[in-house]
């Protein structure tokens, strides 16, 4: 494979063609390699990456923001419901302690307590900051930022803009980043991290547009690459979600934790097949939508677990009163945490009470006026109307669980987001710990902002502390990265990556899905071994310029490694908790499994994974009090009598 940038005559492209990205696309560039030096390189430009880059730039770092897609297209745009932050605009009783408790309970106490605490404490200011930068949130009657309900949060807490909060967030951060003049490298994929004597020295990747290679020399790299959903067949995630950050971190020697916990969002579209898995926001339920089976029964009352009994309504009458009077009524069971609702839906479908297209009904049409629905849920109205010919103001939606989010990710220090590798940070979905075994709705957007800022600042502080004594990029590593990236072009007679990806997705969906058993997990691991063998000889047609087949071939390596990490951890955890449900171990086992995280890293060959157990970080006494049986109500309970 020769370098193909020559397909563009040099004269046709003035070197100013991509002034924003610095992508010169010139055929004359020696060896087709471009080099840049920065203090901080942020990989991924969703909410976490953008917030990290803004923080780094603000802290004085020379900052590069590198993303696989165009700026502003990252998966954060798909976030619908809102940003969880205890601002108390709707409920003055709300505060960080209540939010902290909700987060820990939602994660079935497996969360990193310090991350949950920092998140609850700092999210309100991070939201206010977005408003300073131009975000236009929906308002309360008093003109404050409005807050809405979703599952697992005691109070209406999600700052939102209709049901397109993610778009508002990414656009606000994008406009801020552009305003600050941060260097953005769009449609540029990082394939390797570079190290010098055990610490980060840079990153290597390629321009998707030209296929040309690019090397960043930088002592700090922040991974903000999002999740792993593309390893599953039915998913709400976009093509970018191939676990790049997870895999890059593992290969460079960092650890992943909690990888067995994958969130299946209870409500994804099931029809038509073309949109199967596409997200239906939890706000439909927060705004009054209920779940019904094919017999018309509102079945969630049959699935209230002991753990949440005291705070969940047990009659339809009480549940319906709650929307207007939260003080004297308990929450509807439709607003239990996502893992509970997804399992209930799965059980109803398995019991034969599903809809014609294999889902169950989500009904808001019979409960709210068409005007209310169109006003509060404009994107959902549009989405169903345009893609499924369903008018959600007149008829129920058909929905079913869809792979949505991975709680697991790079193990990081709670305060700085630094991984086990010096100079390597991870934020947002590709980091782990914050959400424990199950994430509450709205806690992802807050997570991106709170820890994005923290990582950007910590990465800058570290880079600055080095002075002139920076780690160096080893040319041999760059050469090896090039060879590795071009390998799919060298093979002859292998299969195409699309087929291997499709087989992986089917296998993960069938064997590592919402309900798991030992035999199926073992089967999935042996299938992954076969897929890894097949991937060694996969072949790519065409050349390096904007070649999706090549891009997939490189991403597929990450998907395979991360899938193996998920299946390995899922097999080891012999209990059911949060986003991990074992048919053969249906109960949570607090005495044994409630006390430890599973940690995954690469084996000596670098091609497989090894697993070890690690005790949970110990929560300090002054936080434990929120979870003592006597405090079963909530930290704010005493204030509620007013």
């Amino acid at each position: 494979m020769s370098d193909n940038t020559g397909s563009h005559p040099a004269g046709a492209h003035p070197t100013t063609r991509h002034p924003m990205t610095g992508n010169e696309m010139s055929a004359a560039a020696a060896g087709g390699m471009e080099r840049h030096t920065y203090d901080v390189v942020v990989v991924g430009a969703g909410g976490a990456g953008l917030r990290a880059a803004i923080a780094a730039q603000d802290a004085g770092a020379r900052t590069a923001l590198v993303c696989k897609s165009l700026l502003g297209k990252a998966h954060t745009v798909m976030a619908e419901g809102g940003i969880a932050a205890a601002m108390g605009n709707r409920w003055p009783e709300d505060n960080w302690e209540v939010h902290f408790r909700d987060t820990m309970r939602g994660g079935k106490m497996l969360n990193n307590w310090r991350m949950a605490q920092l998140h609850a404490q700092e999210a309100p200011e991070r939201v206010q900051e977005l408003e300073d930068w131009g975000a236009l949130f929906d308002r309360t009657e008093d003109g404050l930022i409005s807050q809405r309900d979703v599952g697992g949060h005691k109070y209406a807490r999600l700052a939102h803009v209709g049901d397109r909060t993610g778009l508002e967030m990414i656009r606000t951060l994008q406009q801020r980043a552009v305003h600050l003049g941060i260097d953005v490298f769009m449609e540029c994929t990082i394939t390797d991290l570079l190290k010098d004597d055990g610490v980060i020295s840079g990153a290597f990747g390629y321009w998707r547009e030209s296929g040309r290679f690019i090397t960043f020399e930088a002592p700090s790299v922040i991974l903000a690459t999002g999740g792993i959903g593309k390893s599953f067949k039915v998913t709400s995630n976009s093509w970018e979600y191939t676990g790049d950050g997870h895999a890059l971190a593992m290969r460079s020697g960092a650890n992943l934790i909690n990888m067995e916990f994958v969130q299946f969002h209870p409500t994804g579209m099931v029809w038509p097949p073309s949109v199967k898995g596409l997200l239906v926001t939890e706000s439909v339920r927060g705004d009054g939508g209920i779940l019904k089976n094919s017999e018309g029964k509102r079945f969630m009352f049959d699935y209230i677990p002991e753990f949440f009994k005291s705070e969940t309504a047990d009659t339809e009458a009480e549940a319906d009163r709650w929307y207007d009077d939260k003080k004297n009524n308990r929450r509807p069971p439709e607003l239990l945490p996502r893992d509970e609702v997804a399992r209930a839906i799965n059980s109803e479908i398995k019991a034969g009470r599903g809809t014609p297209h294999g889902g169950i009904y989500l009904d808001i049409a019979s409960r709210r006026s068409p005007e209310f629905i169109r006003k509060r849920l404009p994107s959902m109205y549009h989405q169903f109307k345009e893609l499924a010919d369903v008018d959600i103001t007149a008829e129920p939606m058909e929905i079913g669980p869809t792979c949505h989010y991975v709680m697991g990710g790079v193990e990081v220090d709670a305060d700085t987001q630094e991984s086990a590798v010096t100079g390597l940070y991870a934020v947002g979905e590709c980091s782990g710990g914050m959400h424990g075994s199950n994430r509450l709705g709205g806690n992802s957007l807050g997570d991106l902002l709170v820890f994005g800022k923290r990582a950007g600042e910590a990465a800058t502080a570290y880079a600055t502390s080095l002075g002139e004594a920076r780690p160096q990029v080893d040319e041999a590593d760059v050469k090896a990265a090039q060879v590795s990236a071009l390998a799919p072009f060298e093979v002859e007679g292998g299969e195409n990556p699309y087929t291997i990806q499709s087989d992986l997705q089917q296998s993960m969906n069938d064997l590592v899905g919402i309900i798991r058993t030992a035999s199926e997990l073992e089967e999935s691991l042996s299938r992954i071994e076969v897929l890894k063998k097949r991937a060694e000889t996969m072949v790519v047609e065409g050349h390096r310029q904007y070649n999706p087949g090549w891009h997939l071939a490189l991403d597929l390596r990450n998907m395979l490694l991360v899938s193996e990490a998920i299946a390995t951890a899922a097999l080891a955890r012999q209990e059911s908790r949060g986003g991990h449900t074992r048919d053969d171990f249906p109960q949570a086992d607090d005495a044994v499994w409630g006390r430890k995280n599973l940690v995954v890293s690469t084996d000596d060959s670098g091609q497989g994974v090894v697993l070890r157990e690690q005790p949970l970080p110990e929560m300090p006494e002054d936080l434990k009090k929120y979870f003592a049986p006597a405090a079963a109500e909530s930290p704010a309970a005493s204030k509620e009598g007013k």
């Binding site: 924003m20 300073d132 003109g143 596409l278 990556p497 499709s502």
Partner: protein, 258 residues
């Protein structure tokens, strides 16, 4: 249920290209992007397509379908007769990179030229207050998914490449209008909108509004009001007199011209 769809897809790069004929199996409920993905997976592994969310929310997969600027993921095959050949070409106003992928950096350049938001200080309790009715005007414009179909369609640049340096385009007129209508912003960007952004070049043919997948009323709610505001500032003799004798338009009170 399923049937064989005939497609013509533009393949090529900056040096030229041509429509290639394909036949691809499709099924009920699918969109044009599904058909292209199946082509990619089975017949044309290196077919370049830009896409992300496949749900009409990210604005990546803009192209022209039978000559009409549209999102590939929101164009349903059921809109066409099964015997009809669907032709897919890249957006015409931007330089092609490869196949259906174009170089949209023009738009990112224009975004950089726009002065950002400048709010005053927060209220004493650290919060800001705005009425829902006041934020709704800007919220309509912030629904924009930056698919750039409006930019692609606007004849000011579609037919006149040389206008690009002086013309920000409908997407950024939206942004000007949004900032101008923000209840707490402190800058007056009317001069910039008219001058540097080329608002005056728009002759309100509404082509941009017609292709907007978010149904934003770009012309009626953003461009025309902005034109009126600019005209107020420049030509209205009463405004001129008001300025002279110290009676100013309240809408712009406290705003600084940038």
């Amino acid at each position: 249920m399923g049937y064989d769809l005939k497609m013509r897809v533009w393949r090529g790069d900056i040096d030229g290209g041509d429509l290639a004929d394909y036949t691809v199996e499709v099924s009920e409920g699918e969109v044009v992007l599904d058909a292209l993905h199946r082509l990619q997976a089975t017949q044309a592994g290196d077919l370049a397509i830009r896409w992300n969310c496949k749900a009409g929310k990210c604005g990546s997969c803009s192209a022209e379908i039978n000559g009409r600027p549209r999102l590939l993921c929101m164009t349903r095959l059921s809109d066409f007769d099964e015997s009809e050949t669907i032709t897919v070409t890249p957006m015409r106003s931007f330089p092609v990179i490869r196949d259906l992928v174009t170089d949209v950096s023009y738009n990112y350049e224009k975004a950089k030229e726009l002065p950002g938001i400048a709010l005053g200080p927060r209220d004493a309790d650290g919060k800001r207050r705005m009425a829902q009715i006041d934020v709704e005007r800007g919220q309509e414009f912030r629904k924009c998914i930056e698919c750039f179909l409006c930019q692609n369609t606007c004849h000011v640049v579609r037919d006149h490449e040389d206008n690009k340096p002086a013309f920000a385009g409908p997407r950024f007129f939206l942004r000007y209008a949004e900032l101008d209508m923000h209840p707490l912003d402190t800058h007056d960007r009317r001069e910039l909108a008219q001058g540097a952004a080329g608002l005056g070049m728009c002759n309100i043919t509404k082509c941009c509004t017609e292709v907007c997948p978010e149904n934003i009323q770009i012309t009626d709610n953003a461009i025309i009001p902005m034109k009126e505001r600019v005209a107020d500032r420049k030509y209205d003799p009463l405004v001129w007199l008001g300025n002279k004798i110290g009676l100013r338009n309240k809408d712009y009170e406290g705003r600084t011209e940038v």
